[in-house]
């Protein structure tokens, strides 16, 4: 589904990703771990198409097409979803407007008919239960005045509603208490299916107790330096990132 080859990317002229390669197949859950500043969030933002993240080398093929050539909204219509590390507050635009616009744009791209108001509300309410979001949040401005946990649950709601083919969660677990973490995990696990792929970007292995990944990759200095199964995450939890980074540096030398 997703094939990243030798990806180099810069932010404000500063190289962050330096030759990252990754293969993700449908049905798989990949965890990308790594210390702060290793390029985890840069990867997530490059995949979503953020403009100030400049790809200088390499390629990203998504479902057989060059992902980097599409605008962010086209990627979203093709089934790419980014759960933001810092969801943006948008005063004056109500959550329900955004959800409806987003869902109808995605449905249209999938060749499905737009939902009428009643069907839409029914669907949103069902997905809100999964994300454990009270109904009043629908009518509030997007993320405005939401707590950190509420913002993350709102991301899960959007993901559950849009049913992406490729979901990228950028440190969705950071700063969450155990209850909110379980909500996020439930949302992700509900989405797991043979047709979908999920990339979890995370600093801690805690989330992986609830979402069991098929693969774990360690990112250091803009490259994947080690890959393994879930036991790698547990090892990182015990030993920290130092040893992998050193191992990676030795390997590339």
């Amino acid at each position: 589904m997703l094939s990243i080859k030798n990806l180099h990317a810069s932010v404000d002229g500063k190289p962050i990703l330096k030759g990252l390669s990754l293969e993700v197949k449908a049905g798989e859950v990949h965890a990308i771990m790594g210390p702060n500043g290793s390029g985890k969030s840069t990867l997530a933002n490059v995949l979503a198409g953020r403009e100030n993240y400049v790809v200088t080398q390499g390629e990203v093929i998504y479902r057989g097409k060059n992902l980097l050539a599409s605008a962010p909204e086209e990627r979203a219509r093709e089934g790419v979803f980014l759960a933001f590390q810092y969801p943006v507050e948008i005063p004056g635009v109500s959550n329900i407007y955004m959800l409806k616009a987003a869902l109808n744009a995605v449905r249209k791209a999938r060749g499905e008919s737009e939902l009428d108001a009643l069907d839409f509300i029914a669907l949103v309410k069902e997905r809100m239960k999964l994300a454990e979001i009270p109904e009043e949040f629908l009518y509030r401005s997007v993320n405005e005045g939401f707590s950190g946990g509420e913002k993350k649950r709102n991301e899960i709601l959007q993901m559950a509603l849009l049913e992406p083919r490729l979901a990228i969660l950028d440190e969705t677990d950071s700063g969450l208490d155990i209850d909110a973490l379980q909500v996020v995990a439930r949302g992700v696990n509900a989405l797991r299916s043979p047709e979908r792929a999920i990339v979890l970007v995370t600093h801690y292995q805690r989330l992986l107790n609830y979402i069991v990944p098929d693969y774990v990759h360690v990112l250091a200095s803009g490259r994947i330096v080690k890959s393994g199964d879930r036991t790698l995450a547990q090892e990182l939890d015990r030993q920290g990132y130092g040893w992998v980074a050193q191992e990676g540096a030795a390997a590339s030398a």
């Binding site: 909204e73 507050e89 635009v93 407007y97 959007q158």
Partner: protein
């Protein structure tokens, strides 16, 4: 003679002709007031950009054009054309002024409570001049600029509203100022006087529109006296043609524990200047000024507000927002003066400008002068572009970039309209706002 002086000469000729016509018809005090105003206009002359108050607003096009007064002829506006300017589901009193002249035929005045007067100013100046004498021209006073003097010297019609103590007019009074092609290259000088005595209440909507595009000049002035415990809600909605010039003034005096809420919405006009002056002359007065300007092309909108906190415990709130596209230019200057006696004043002022194009420009100048020591005063001014993070967030949710921009722009501007208490007025303006956005259809779908 240079073109600017030639322009002024045309206005002086208009003044002289008006004086000859009205000399024998008007009462003594009014003639004296007009003479003084004409002399003041001559002495002040039109402001230039060397004048600090007019630094960013060049009125030379108005001067050069030498607009003359329009003929007094209330016919010519088609009722069907007017109907689109009425608010849906808003019962109330409707007064129509065609090219500055009251049209009884087009107006619909409902039943008013006893003690409420809503009349054409021209008629009131003939029938009950003594009632107007202590207010007319006295509220605007001499502090104002040449345009005010010009209006006072020439003003023939508009509305006169008087509310006796305790009178509450439940339905809003909608004043529609229509300009037809017959008034092309003319000057219109609507003049309104609203006197709300103790404990009275009313909502007044001044609404300026154009039927057919014609370059002309509206020079409007409204005086409001808000008595003790009285409440006046005032709207100034300007949606004139793109080649119209508009200079407007709202001058208010607020009594003890009184309340004035004024909304100013500018959606049209080539060159627009509004002055709002409110004096909180007694304890506990409350003044709220909200403003929205949406300007494109080469449009220019200048809002000057001036609030005088004269006595203790006064509250003022100002909230102005502007959306600028194309080569549009906006000016906001908000002056708040807290006089030595005005302890426990609570004043807050916000002006936010959204620039949608590289060539648009906004100048925002808060001016606080505080001479009392126990007061709360705050102000904030911003000029900026759409939030890139919000734009990316919406796009990452499959929303088209152009639609995301319109949605964010709409949300920015609607923030002002949300403060409008009269739902039919608010809803109409929201629709007009959507129409003024470039990709209105997709935004409409969302709402």
């Amino acid at each position: 003679m240079n073109p600017v002086n030639e322009g002024k000469a045309a206005y002086l000729d208009t003044l002289a002709a008006f004086a000859r016509q009205t000399e024998t018809r008007e009462v003594l005090w009014l003639r004296a007031l007009r003479r003084e105003a004409a002399a003041r206009f001559d002495q002040l002359g039109f402001p230039t950009t060397r004048n600090e108050e007019w630094k960013y607003t060049d009125v030379a096009p108005i001067v050069r054009a030498g607009f003359t007064s329009a003929a007094r002829d209330p016919a010519g506006a088609d009722g069907a054309q007017l109907s689109r300017y009425w608010f849906e589901n808003l019962p109330g009193h409707k007064l129509v002024f065609v090219n500055g002249c009251f049209s009884a035929e087009r107006s619909r005045l409902g039943a008013l409570p006893k003690g409420a007067t809503v009349a054409s100013l021209a008629e009131a100046l003939i029938r009950q001049p003594q009632a107007l004498e202590i207010y007319f021209g006295r509220i605007a006073g001499e502090s104002a600029h040449a345009f005010t003097a010009l209006n006072t010297a020439l003003a023939a019609d508009g509305v006169y509203i008087h509310l006796a103590p305790g009178v509450q007019v439940e339905q809003p009074i909608h004043l529609l100022y229509v300009v037809t092609p017959a008034a092309g290259s003319k000057m219109l000088t609507p003049r309104n006087l609203i006197v709300a005595e103790e404990g009275s209440r009313a909502a007044v909507i001044e609404h300026y529109v154009t039927l057919g595009a014609a370059a002309y000049f509206t020079n409007a002035l409204t005086e409001v006296a808000v008595g003790p415990n009285a409440a006046v809600e005032h709207y100034r909605l300007q949606e004139e043609a793109g080649d119209a010039y508009h200079v407007g003034g709202l001058h208010a005096r607020l009594g003890r524990d009184s309340r004035l809420t004024a909304h100013a919405v500018d959606l049209g006009g080539r060159l627009v200047r509004n002055d709002v002056r409110a004096a909180l002359e007694a304890e506990g007065a409350e003044c709220t000024l909200n403003g929205l300007y949406v300007v494109g092309g080469r449009g220019h909108v200048d809002n000057h507000t001036h609030i005088d906190h004269v006595k203790p415990r006064g509250t003022s709130r100002e909230f102005y927002k502007g959306v600028l596209d194309g080569r549009a230019r906006a000016v906001f200057r908000g002056r708040i003066v807290v006089h030595p006696d005005a302890q426990h004043t609570d004043a807050r002022q916000v002006n936010n400008n959204l620039l949608l194009s590289r060539d648009a420009e906004a100048d925002s100048q808060p001016q606080l002068e505080i001479y009392a020591d126990d007061v709360k005063c705050a102000h904030g001014a911003t000029v900026g572009n759409l939030d890139e993070d919000a734009l990316f967030y919406l796009r990452s949710r499959a929303i088209e970039a152009s639609q995301a921009r319109d949605l964010l722009t709409y949300a920015f501007a609607r923030d002002v309209l949300a403060r409008i208490a009269l739902a039919p007025v608010r809803e109409r303006l929201e629709r007009r706002l959507i129409e003024s956005l470039m990709h209105r259809a997709p935004v409409e779908e969302l709402l």
